[in-house]
Structure formats: structure tokens, C-alpha cells
């Protein structure tokens, strides 16, 4: 796969591109946003053209350093340059590029009057194609001749590095050879000294040793091609047609590999991985499923997949990436697996900043950045929930938010392929970093929320689709009633028979609520059972909701529905109880928040609440309600 799968898609991308030029003041920021989308090579080229039309030499002031990159090579390179420039843009970096006249890299390097010297590069990419690198190597050669050819090729490359380094005193990166030659022997190709395929394998190993000695970096397209398949990177027919070694379809990926190197050179790689917990670090919801119910560890394929992701995160942390947690949970629940679950790979001590509460995640991520005293633009946030991802993307565009599915096997891949934590070296300090952050930090109190939630919610196009209890929904209704622990006012458990009885009772109603938004269908997210009392009070027997949809105005919208159904049964007042359990502390003040009057509280912490329906005005929310 050479597509930029870790970036989200954007439905209005083309329109946004067309209107990019209309406001020069915001054009750069908007262009950066457009670059952070899953672009193929055609759209990459289109964005590059538009941006260069608006900014022929780049914006005047930038917080990043502008780069002048010379790309030197032996084949067609022009098609790779837009991908490189857009990869810079993706990271807020302006890149000017230069390519040598076809095949003339050595001449231009040697001639101080050449346009290459006039360009004054601040970085050099040496991109020699695999045909050029194996010129003269044939299967008829004996081992000694091949050895000489290998040494000669190494010397020639070293000569290029020296020429570039002496002339420009700037960082150099060498593209590894793309392994595109076909084998001649087969499995034991290494027994044929003059095999071009084997020659390149050896050259790629030698390049890395040389690069260490010479202070040059490597662009590992060979590793990338091993993951993607060489056919994704090289199209032989295209080579014959236009001498493009790297296929244009792979050019956005190629560019991104260069862009992340340039960003790392400016110290702009991401430094901290912020983890959601439920269904990201383990399977299930700890507050509902409990310690025994979450999927983690050996024994189930899903549990093993979460273990593998935790291992990848721990490996990152051991090489210097800081780990943090941002979870919608009661803190005690969120901590429990870290402290008590034997299969957890990540321990509390691996997490430098641990934030678990019910505030919105944008504010919590700001708090994590303050806590760790690092910039928001060094945080990368991973969450299985598209709502949370998009909220953070909208509120904090500088935070990286890889696009992932609900399949945990994809999480390490997204982090790795996205190149967020591109590193150039590893120090002892890196290895100790997490413990340093833990030792130094003092947790500040949460600052006031500043997130513009209403505009986000409005843009979500939420629909609450409600139905009374029915046979189709019955199984899911019973499951939710018996599983939900956190947002559950009374925690009454009911069987299939009980639900059938509600359906048959003319003085009761059961509601099943489904929430959809522009990111998809969240499924049945809330259940309500109301029972009309002889005194015309409507007693809210059961009200539970999935914590996934907290903070989205589902609660007041649900109350509107309850009031409507209660009125249908002739009720005058609503009566709602909060019955405390170990896990439902989050809804203690649920009714008071919705405008109920607290009538009684008991010693155990429970309360009874009343709402007069005559005086009730339905709340206005951003949720469109439909029966269906």
C-alpha cells in the first residue's frame, strides 16, 4: 500500500482547493490542512500547483525553517518533487526544490558555475536508480570482478557525498536502491556473484555502513518496497516509457518519507503518543465490562491484537517517545487495568501523563501538553472513536490524529506508516525520557474549557432515531440493560420477559435510541423505560446511555422524548431516581443538570428528582430527532 492511509479523507477537498486563493491571510494554514488529507498523486500535484501559484517563494513568516532541497539523480525525477513539497507543507515547512538536468548530476556537482550551485541547497537528496547503480554488472562476472565493481560503486557514491558536502555544507540523504531486478538463480540468488538483484542487496547494506561513517542519512525505500511490494513502487513499463524509477502513484509516499526526514532534521518529529483506553488499548469498556470483561492478553485473537499494540507503544516509549493517556472514564476505573490486570503490557509507570475524566478530549489534550510542558504540535493522538478523532482534528489541528478503524491490528501500522516519530538517532536520554517526565511534572489544575464545542456539534449533522421497544431490537435492549454500568441511573437488570411485558403494558413505554452522524451510525446508544403511576407521575424506571456519546447533547434530547411520551400517557410530572452503585458516580447529578428539582437524597448518595411537565420547555439541541 503506497497510499497515505493514516490520513483522513475530506469530502469538500476539491472545493476547498478551488477557494484557497480567496483569502491570502489564511491560505497557508488552509493549505496545510488540505495537505493533511489522504491525497493520491494527482491531487498532490493539484495542491502543489495551487500553493505555488499563491506563494511563488513561500509565505514570508513561518515558524519553521524554509528548505532548499536539491534532488540529484540519474533518471526522471520531476514527478517526485510535488510529493516532496506537499509532504513539507503537511508539516508546515516550505520546500523549494531543484533537480539536475537529466543524468547530469556529477557534472553539475563539479561545476561551481552550474545552476545547482546557484540554487544553494540547504539539503541534498541523492536518488540514483537501480539500473544506474548496477550498470556493468552481469551474471557472467566472477566474484573478484563483482567485488571490484561493488567497491567502485561505493567510491562513486562517496564521491558524490563529498562533493555535495564540500560545496553546500548541508545534510545529505541517500536513497537506498530499489530492489527491482529479477532474480536469475532464485532462492539462492546469493550464490551468483554477478546477479544484479544480489548486488543491490549487498550495496544497500554497504550504503548504511558508509552512511554511518560519513554522517549521511538513508532514505529507506528498499524497506518500504519490501512492505508494500515492489510492484507498488516500480512499474517496468513506465520505466521503458519515461524513465521514472518510482511510479507516480507512489510519489506521495516517497515525498512523505523525504518530508518526515526534513522535519526530523528541524526537530519537528512528534514526541508524545496520547492513547485513548477503551477499545484502543484494550477491547471493551472498562467501566461497563469490568476487569474480567475487557479483551487483553492471550486467549482471544482480539485480546492478543490489543497486546501487540501495547507492545508496539511500549517499544516506542523505550526508544524515547513519551506515552500519555486521554480517556473518558472515571479515573479509578481507568487506572484499574494498569494496576491490577496481569496481561497489561503497559504499566502505570510507562505513562507520563494520565488524564481520565469526562471532559472533552481537546481540553484534556491541552492539559496533557501543559502537564508535560511540550508543544501541542508534538502530540500524536490515537483513538478508535471517529467522533473524538474529528473533534481533536477540528479543535487542535496541530495535533496528529491518525485515521484508524476499530481493528487494533491496524494501530501499530498507522503509527509506523505515518512516520510521526521519525528519529535520526537514539540517545541514552531518550531511553529514560518517560521516567524523567514522570519525575518532573506537577499536575496543574485543569484550566477552563475553551473548546468551541457548539460549532463542532452543529457540523456533526446528528440524528437521533427513536423507536419504542420492538422484537427486532429486543436482544440488543436486554444486552444493554444487563451490561451498562456507568451511565445508568438505576442499574435495574431485566430479562427478555420483562421487556416483552413493557411492550404490552399500555401504561409504560420503552424507548430505544439510535444516533447517527456524518461519520456513521453509532448503533443503539440509549434505553429508557417509563412507567405511569396511578397519581399521574411518570416514573423513569430505567435510563441508560453509552458513554461513547457523552457530551453530544443526547441527554437533553432524550429528555424531550421522555416528556413527549409521558404527555402521551397523560402524565403531569416526571420522577427520576439516581440509585448509586460502585460504577455510576458520573450520573449522580444527571437530573439536576437537566433542570429537575431534587426532592430527596439518601445516606447512600442516591437522590429523587421531579420535573413539572406543565412548566417544561423542550431543550433546543443540534440533534435532529426522527421516529424510525
Amino acid at each position: 500500500m503506497t497510499d497515505l492511509h493514516w490520513l483522513p479523507t475530506h469530502p469538500d477537498w476539491r472545493q476547498r482547493l478551488r477557494s484557497l486563493h480567496t483569502d491570502p491571510a489564511t491560505a497557508w494554514d488552509n493549505a496545510v490542512a488540505l495537505a493533511n488529507v489522504r491525497l493520491n498523486f494527482v491531487l498532490t500535484n493539484a495542491l502543489d500547483e495551487a500553493v505555488r501559484r499563491i506563494f511563488p517563494t513561500g509565505p514570508e513568516t513561518l515558524s519553521t525553517k524554509k528548505v532548499r532541497l536539491a534532488v540529484l539523480g540519474s533518471s526522471t525525477l520531476a514527478h517526485l518533487l510535488p510529493g516532496i513539497r506537499i509532504a513539507g507543507l503537511r508539516r508546515g515547512i516550505w520546500i523549494d526544490t531543484y533537480e539536475n538536468d537529466y543524468g547530469q548530476y556529477l557534472q553539475e556537482l563539479s561545476d561551481t558555475d552550474s545552476p545547482l550551485h546557484a540554487f544553494k541547497p540547504t539539503a541534498v537528496l541523492v536518488a540514483l536508480d537501480a539500473y544506474h547503480l548496477t550498470a556493468g554488472v552481469t551474471s557472467g562476472m566472477d566474484a573478484a570482478s563483482v567485488e571490484a565493481a561493488l567497491t567502485e560503486m561505493q567510491d562513486r557514491i562517496k564521491e558524490i557525498w563529498h562533493l555535495a558536502s564540500d560545496a553546500f555544507r548541508c545534510p545529505i540523504i541517500q536513497q537506498a536502491a530499489l530492489p527491482l531486478h529479477l532474480p536469475l538463480l532464485g532462492n539462492n540468488e546469493h550464490r551468483l556473484p554477478g546477479s544484479r538483484s544480489w548486488f543491490l542487496t549487498r550495496l544497500n547494506t554497504a550504503l548504511r555502513t558508509m552512511a554511518e561513517q560519513e554522517g549521511v542519512d538513508i532514505l529507506a525505500v528498499d524497506d518500504r518496497a519490501a512492505r508494500d511490494g515492489i510492484a507498488k513502487w516500480h512499474d517496468t513499463a513506465l520505466w521503458h516509457r519515461s524513465k521514472q524509477e518510482v511510479s507516480p502513484t507512489a510519489s506521495p509516499m516517497y515525498g512523505d518519507l523525504v518530508g518526515r526526514w526534513l522535519a526530523a532534521k528541524q526537530g519537528r518529529s512528534f514526541k508524545c503518543l496520547v492513547l485513548d483506553l477503551d477499545n484502543t488499548v484494550w477491547g471493551g469498556v472498562i467501566g461497563d465490562d469490568g476487569l474480567e470483561g475487557i479483551a487483553i492478553g492471550q486467549g482471544s485473537p482480539l485480546g492478543e491484537a490489543y497486546t501487540a499494540f501495547q507492545e508496539y507503544a511500549r517499544e516506542l516509549s523505550r526508544r524515547g517517545v513519551i506515552l500519555a493517556v486521554c480517556s473518558k472514564n472515571d479515573e479509578a476505573n481507568a487506572l484499574e487495568p494498569f494496576e491490577k490486570h496481569p496481561d497489561m503490557v503497559l504499566k502505570r509507570g510507562d505513562i507520563a501523563s494520565f488524564v481520565a475524566n469526562w471532559s472533552n478530549k481537546a481540553d484534556n489534550i491541552r492539559a496533557i501538553a501543559r502537564d508535560l510542558n511540550i508543544g501541542l504540535d508534538s502530540l500524536c493522538f490515537i483513538d478508535d472513536n471517529p467522533f473524538e478523532r474529528n473533534l481533536v482534528r477540528q479543535e487542535l489541528p496541530m495535533v496528529a490524529v491518525p485515521e484508524v478503524s476499530d481493528d487494533p491490528t491496524g494501530y501499530p501500522v498507522a503509527l509506523s506508516d505515518g512516520g510521526y516519530f521519525e528519529g535520526l538517532s537514539v540517545t541514552d536520554e531518550d531511553r529514560e525520557r518517560t521516567s524523567q517526565y514522570q519525575g518532573n511534572k506537577a499536575r496543574d489544575a485543569m484550566k477552563a474549557a475553551v473548546t468551541d464545542l457548539p460549532s463542532y456539534l452543529r457540523g456533526l449533522e446528528m440524528e437521533l432515531i427513536w423507536r419504542r421497544f420492538d422484537k427486532i431490537g429486543q436482544q440488543r435492549i436486554v444486552q444493554l440493560i444487563n451490561k451498562s454500568n456507568q451511565f445508568n441511573l438505576t442499574t435495574r437488570r431485566y430479562t427478555d420477559e420483562d421487556i416483552v411485558a413493557v411492550m404490552a403494558d399500555p401504561n409504560a413505554f420503552g424507548l430505544q435510541l439510535r444516533l447517527t452522524d456524518r461519520f456513521g451510525d453509532n448503533g443503539i446508544i440509549a434505553i429508557v423505560i417509563g412507567r405511569l403511576q396511578p397519581n399521574k407521575d411518570l416514573y423513569i424506571d430505567t435510563w441508560l446511555m453509552s458513554c461513547r456519546v457523552l457530551g453530544r447533547q443526547v441527554e437533553p434530547t432524550t429528555l424531550n422524548l421522555i416528556a413527549q411520551e409521558a404527555a402521551r400517557l397523560g402524565a403531569k410530572r416526571l420522577v427520576g431516581d439516581y440509585i448509586p452503585t460502585k460504577k455510576n458516580g458520573m450520573v449522580k447529578d444527571h437530573y439536576a443538570k437537566l433542570g429537575f428539582t431534587v426532592m430527596a437524597s439518601d445516606e447512600a448518595g442516591g437522590n429523587r428528582n421531579i420535573l413539572d411537565l406543565m412548566a417544561f420547555t423542550p431543550a433546543e439541541t443540534f440533534i435532529h430527532v426522527i421516529e424510525g
Partner: protein
């Protein structure tokens, strides 16, 4: 199964992305001389974007035989049909 109209709609999107223009009228007779900037690289972009869009692959002989937009549309119809 792609119809001729669908193919032209798809090509229209590709052309508007490749040339950054929304005012091109795609006719079967259209060729590289008619559109400013339609050089051999743009030609490759158009071909590869078409391959990606319809999940097809053209071989060298087929590409060499292309003269007009109509040739391309017909070939897409044959392959994706």
C-alpha cells in the same frame, strides 16, 4: 459495468484534477494539442489516474495506440466493462 456516460463523468473529474480547470469540455475528438499543458507527464497522470479509478491496467501497445480521448474512453469501456 461502466457506461459511456459514467466513463466521461469520471474522466471529467480526472481532467479537472490534472489540469486544475473546470471549463474543459470532453469530446471524443479531444487530444493533447487541444489542452494547454497536456504533455507526456500529464498523459501519464491521466492514464494512471484512470487505471486507479477503474481498477484496470493498460499495456504498452495499448498506450501507444492512444490518439484521442475517445480512444481512451473506449479502452476503459472494454477493460472495465
Amino acid at each position: 459495468m461502466a457506461t459511456e456516460a459514467e466513463i466521461y463523468r469520471g474522466l471529467n473529474e480526472i481532467f479537472s484534477d490534472v489540469f486544475m480547470r473546470d471549463d474543459l469540455t470532453l469530446t471524443p475528438a479531444l487530444n493533447a494539442k487541444d489542452v494547454k499543458g497536456w504533455d507526456s507527464f500529464k498523459q501519464i497522470e491521466i492514464i494512471m489516474a484512470s487505471e486507479e479509478k477503474w481498477g484496470i491496467k493498460f499495456n504498452t501497445r495499448e498506450l501507444d495506440a492512444l490518439r484521442t480521448l475517445g480512444d481512451l474512453a473506449k479502452m476503459i469501456e472494454t477493460k472495465a466493462g
